[in-house]
Amino acid sequence: GESVGLHLPTLSVQEGDNSIINCAYSNSASDYFIWYKQESGKGPQFIIDIRSNMDKRQGQRVTVLLNKTVKHLSLQIAATQPGDSAVYFCAEKWSGGGADGLTFGKGTHLIIQP
């Protein structure tokens, strides 16, 4: 099936810097995208979502950008903190696909250097 992938498996940034995690998706019919954060040994935690009729959405210290032309999604984290260390997954869904699950990428491991 079509898949969602992440460009970099590991990203290391200095504490206080901004982080950008990228994601490419291949299903042009996808109309809903979610970013999750997963800490070691825990379930994925919802961070932020965006629908395909938007190109930007902001939350607390996070911004998601969607470029439908090149089928690219990014998560920006401002002023990273040690607690931001985790694996970040993007997920995509086509709402016309019914109740079936999201399609996840493999994840990017974000490491915050002190």
Binding site: G43, P44, S95, A99, D100, G107
Partner: protein, 111 residues
Amino acid sequence: SQTIHQWPATLVQPVGSPLSLECTVEGTSNPNLYWYRQAAGRGLQLLFYSVGIGQISSEVPQNLSASRPQDRQFILSSKKLLLSDSGFYLCAWSHHLRTQYFGPGTRLLVL
């Protein structure tokens, strides 16, 4: 607010033994429910989903099965575990076919 529970948190089982993992959701009604498996360092693979009591859809062939005996209860089972069944099992719920919210997960080790 809604909460989702999974138990047990950790399980070590011998090959060939049965399995029963439970997931329950509180604070909502008629949710869509999902079972995912996550291999170490990998993404999530959808195993089963359910849109209502007794309604189960399977995404991949395997020796696992799922049941939904109550509106907010989802059970993952196996009659005989394989080594390849080891992994991190996650339950999730959603409404309106949108965001899915995950439980804390069950780590299963089959020896």
